[in-house]
Amino acid sequence: MAGAASTTGPGATADRKIVAFCCRECAYAAADASANARTPLPPTVRLVLMPCTGRVSPLHLLSALAEGADGVMVAGCLLGQCHYREGNFHAVDRVAFVQRLLRSVGVEPERCRMFTMSAGEPPKFVAAVREMDRVIGGLPPLPRSEDGGGRKAASAGGASSLAAGEPLVAARGAA
């Protein structure tokens, strides 16, 4: 990614990780354009290309947080302009669901957010990433418990399969 310089002061939030799930039709194109224009992005952000934000499931968002991200953002098309008609509406609701789950167990819901933009708005994408970086920079690092917070899974293997980094594959096999 072009321009690795932090925009919020050197080292202030450099140890944080933000995973940005970007729609291929808009946000990723906007990110590409902003990189071509050599606009610096915060070094905390990691882009993940998605075919549509409608593909983002609550499991993607929560797994990212559980596996090391301090914040996750979903960047999709403007509402009503989804390439697949209503994928981003699904994403909005799933992000809201994840926020409610997080709030329910005592985690700041701001760690998961949804942004919308069109492909022709690289500044909006950069502003969204910087906003997310600012919010996450203001929060403490996300604490995680390896033992599941004292609460065990109903059967063995769940936490370990997550730790092995293949929760989605395991979930698909079981479903």
């Binding site: 559980a66 167990v105 985690v107 599941g148 917070g149 609460r151 899974a153 769940g158």
Partner: protein, 154 residues
């Protein structure tokens, strides 16, 4: 509970020996909650409104789900992040399709088995209708004087 309430009522109006289908009115519907993904297809297909998509979702359903299930994978991630026990049920937005609590009302159920055919997780099972004293699979097989099923359906 071999028959659902409504199923028994409907079967009482059906001539003896005419029903032998394993999936038809009067089946015993067994729901395996641990396999359910909460998609709500059973609720969408249900002709009698016995299954409904609940508006609230109990977070403990994720945390207590078997680890190798779809819900368990999400619950495992949530368990690593949680700082305290869930406050209570959360409201589920309209377009979140798979994390639903399905409210099943046995009193309304016809036992038709439509939900079984629609279930993608094979979490619902329809057991063939049978009288309490007749473990043979045919509803009225044990009824005295009933003709053999082959004769009826020939």
């Amino acid at each position: 509970m071999p028959l659902t309430h409504r199923g028994r009522e409907i079967l009482s109006r059906v001539p003896a020996g005419t029903l032998q289908s394993t999936v038809g009115v009067g089946c015993e519907i067994v729901r395996h909650e641990e396999l359910c993904v909460g998609c709500g297809k059973c609720a969408g297909n249900c002709p009698s409104g016995a299954s409904e998509r609940g508006a609230l979702f109990d977070v403990n359903q994720l945390l207590d789900a078997p680890a190798d299930s779809r819900r368990g994978a999400l619950g495992g991630a949530l368990r690593r992040l949680m700082r305290h026990e869930p406050d209570g049920p959360v409201e589920v937005p309209e377009r979140v399709t798979v994390y639903r609590t399905i409210v099943y009302d046995n009193e309304k159920c016809l036992g038709c088995g439509t939900c079984v055919r629609g279930c993608p997780a094979e979490a619902i099972e329809a057991r063939p209708p049978q009288a309490d004293a007749a473990p043979t699979g045919s509803v009225h097989a044990a009824a005295p004087g009933a003709p053999a099923p082959e004769e009826v359906c020939a």
